[in-house]
């Protein structure tokens, strides 16, 4: 024995080391898919695989995002905000909302406060004011002390910010015309809340924005009808002096959803602007450029370019400095993602060109997107953003290969960290870029849930709100992978894991429901004030719940 060990000491050493190394690294392998089954109830076959599902990891990431959002509105623990990123914080809130709104659609029969509270708090955090929350407010971080562009946004008038008179329109208000990068996100967050939870709470506010944009895009802002609106390009500025396609894609999606929900016809107000984007704001590949100046910014200094920046005109690219427009992949991906519902053929046409121009292969299972083909050797915040938007775009385009390759690139350098109670999970980016941590969370959700941004432009049918659903539950001890009322077969699909004994309250069942598991009757509902309660012991259940007769 001793001789055998002595003769094989190297091979035994490498064997032990290999086992030790392999044993400590399993935490980062991909999570398992959600299990499904097939059941026959009253002659109807229910295949759980036919219904959308969330994975355990997606829910765990949502629980992590919940810890970031569910704190006092002026608190930002775990967001890792530092001075250079304050102007990006409101985007985190907005895109987190768009990400989780797609989760709500997957399990749309699960409508307790578990989801709606987070969506509500995100809107409230987005609307934090300087007056109440001072430097911790979004108003301060996004508008009053911007770290990007030129300062004095609050002092702008159009077209003459310096010697303004009655013919100039004030455009410096935080909540007013020229801050589409906040107003549009805020209004879309509110409208998506309405779409998901049907409370009517935010109607007055988002309706006001719809009217405001209508005014901005069809008049000169002073009451006179004007083609192209106040800024004569059919688009609304983010910073008072410049318009971007990506920022305008948000109110365009809002308008589509608004029209679909309320039967209105506001979309024609965007015709001029869409044409402007698709013709003027284009680079040599036919992709969107990044920024069009509608007026010269106050204090503009054009000392570094050999070609003079035109006003109005596309922002010129300083990397190449030959008169070609400035480009940015994050803006292109974002624009294509949110505009696909409105101009599907444009996105279908541009998507492969975008991958060809901005994509970089690393290996068969890894690639990344560069932010500018004029600066291929750079890599920073906007390159990371370009990859974040492209994973959602790739999913929407059905290009799962590209989606997975970018996921492998962007997420693999970070460890998955689970909370001690096993309820929440995030990717730990503290060693690289702490501010990225929340983005990796919602970015993973929007790269992987089986609902796209485009899907959100369609409202739920009116009768949806009469479908049976889970209205209350012990949310902290359950994992709802599937919760969906099938109006065709008349069955509620519930795929759930229960960690501790939990009670679920179902609303909208016309009569006492019956649950089936494996095709046989399971459990018993208790009637309570028009609702029905079901108690589940710890375990994983695939339940089909149908209306009974009593």
């Amino acid at each position: 024995m001793t001789i055998s060990i002595k003769n094989n000491k190297f091979i035994l050493t490498v064997l032990v080391l290999a086992i030790v190394l392999a044993g400590m690294t399993f935490g980062n392998i991909p999570g398992s898919a959600t299990s499904t089954s097939v059941q026959v109830v009253d002659g109807t076959t229910y295949n759980f695989a036919d219904y959308p599902a969330l994975t355990h990891e997606q829910i765990a990431v949502f629980n992590y995002l919940d810890t970031l959002v569910s704190q006092p509105y002026g608190s930002w623990d775990g967001w890792y905000i530092y001075p250079e990123v304050v102007s990006l914080v409101h985007y985190q809130l907005a895109f987190m909302t768009y990400s989780i709104a797609r989760m709500f659609e997957v399990t749309n029969g699960y409508r307790t406060g578990y989801y709606s509270d987070v969506a509500y708090d995100l809107i409230k955090k987005m609307n934090t004011t300087e007056e109440v929350y001072h430097n911790n407010s979004i108003e301060s971080m996004e508008w009053l002390r911007p770290s990007i562009g030129y300062a004095n946004w609050t002092e702008y008038y159009y077209p003459d910010p310096i010697n303004h008179d009655a013919d100039d329109v004030y455009t410096g208000g935080y909540r007013e015309p020229a801050n589409i990068m906040w107003t549009a996100h805020y209004a879309l967050m509110e409208l998506l809340h309405e779409r998901s939870f049907n409370t009517g709470e935010f109607f007055d506010e988002y309706n006001w924005y719809m009217e405001d944009w209508n005014n901005s895009l069809t008049t000169d802002g002073l009451g006179n009808a004007t083609e192209g609106g106040i800024w004569e390009c059919g688009l609304i500025p983010c910073q008072p002096y410049e318009v971007w396609t990506q920022c305008n894609s948000i109110p365009i999606l809002f308008t589509e959803l608004y029209d679909n929900m309320f039967g209105s016809n506001y979309m024609p107000i965007w015709d001029y602007g869409l044409n402007f984007m698709n013709t003027v704001m284009q680079d040599q590949y036919g992709l969107f450029v990044d920024g069009y100046f509608v007026q010269e910014p106050m204090g503009y200094m054009d000392t570094h370019l050999s070609t003079q920046q035109p006003f109005p005109g596309n922002q010129l690219d300083a990397y190449i400095d030959d008169g070609r427009p400035y480009v940015s992949a994050y803006g292109v991906a974002w624009s294509m993602l949110f505009l696909e519902y409105t101009q599907e053929n444009e996105t279908i046409h541009d998507y492969p060109i975008f991958l060809d121009v901005y994509g970089k292969d690393i290996s068969g299972d890894k690639m990344y997107i560069i932010d500018s083909y004029n600066n291929p050797s750079g890599f920073g915040t906007y390159d990371i953003l370009a990859n974040l938007y492209t994973v959602a775009l790739a999913l929407q385009r059905g290009d799962l290969t590209t989606r997975d390759r970018i996921l492998n690139f962007l997420w693999s350098p970070y460890n998955k960290v689970w909370s001690p109670d096993g309820r929440a999970m995030h990717w730990d980016s503290l060693a690289v870029e702490p501010f990225l941590q929340s983005s990796l969370g919602y970015g993973y959700i929007w790269a992987t849930v089986p609902v796209t941004v485009k899907d959100l432009a369609e409202p739920r049918p009116t009768e949806f709100w009469d479908y049976p659903y889970i209205s209350e539950a012990n949310d902290d001890v359950i994992w709802v992978y599937q919760a969906h009322w099938d109006p065709v077969s008349g069955g509620f699909i519930l795929n759930i894991r229960v960690d501790e004994t939990a009670e679920l309250t179902f609303s909208n069942f016309a009569s006492s429901p019956i649950a089936y598991s494996g095709g046989v009757m399971f459990g018993e509902f208790v009637a309570a004030e028009g609702n029905y309660k079901l108690t589940l012991e710890p375990g994983t259940y695939h339940l089909v719940i149908v209306e009974g007769g009593m």
Partner: protein, 205 residues
């Protein structure tokens, strides 16, 4: 008197090279190609298995068994089999997962080079000292692979420096070194154990 050995020397060197490359006859060449293709097959299969890893600060640690298949193929059947395993394995895997030929197959050449370098030496799979040599040559082969990949990334693909450093070079080194150092001798010994029972004649190289 001294001409005869001078005439014989080039011949024996050529034979030595052919033998080292395991292509001294048509049959040997066929077997070498077959080993390369089999190695590529194993490489592809192992590449599809999710790879456990852990990040320690900016460094990724873990084991990539597929990389050790390239080196062990070279160790078993010489440089050509090692090269084919790395080149064809990487090329076909890339085509399967993404329908993409990455950087005109130059990345695949880089991985083939690792198998080629390991295959240049001869090994006694029952000797610990020889297995140590195999591990060390595997690391040398890996370093050449990493260098070539970095050069290709910087010159052909024009990666950003940060991407080359953080997303290509570091992971390849920190996962690759333990993988080829630890797993190559293990796989080699395992192969030797199996073949000595199943097909002892295959051990003669």
């Amino acid at each position: 008197m001294s001409k005869a050995p001078e005439q014989e020397t080039p011949q024996s060197e050529e034979e030595g090279i052919l033998e080292k490359f395991q292509i001294q006859s048509s049959e040997m060449l066929l077997w070498t190609i077959l080993y390369g293709l089999l190695g590529a097959g194993f490489f592809i299969i192992l590449s599809f298995i999710p790879r456990p890893y852990i990040m320690v600060d900016l460094f990724m640690f873990g084991l990539a068994p597929a990389m050790a298949i390239i080196t062990v193929a070279g160790a078993i059947r010489g440089p050509i089999a090692g090269f084919l395993t790395g080149y064809i394995g990487t090329l076909v895997y890339d085509l399967i997962v993404s329908a993409t030929v990455v950087t005109f197959t130059l990345t695949a050449v880089a991985f083939g080079l690792m198998g080629f370098i390991v295959g240049i030496a001869r090994y006694d799979f029952t000797s610990g000292r020889s297995l140590v040599k195999m591990s060390i040559l595997s690391i040398i082969g890996l370093i050449f692979t990493v260098l070539l990949t970095v050069v290709i990334g910087l010159t052909v693909e024009v990666y950003a420096d940060l991407v080359v450093l953080g997303f290509v070079m570091l992971p390849l080194l920190t996962v690759g070194i333990p993988s080829v150092f630890l797993l190559t001798p293990l796989f080699a010994r395992l192969w030797h154990l199996v073949m000595s029972k199943v097909m002892p004649e295959a051990l003669v190289r």
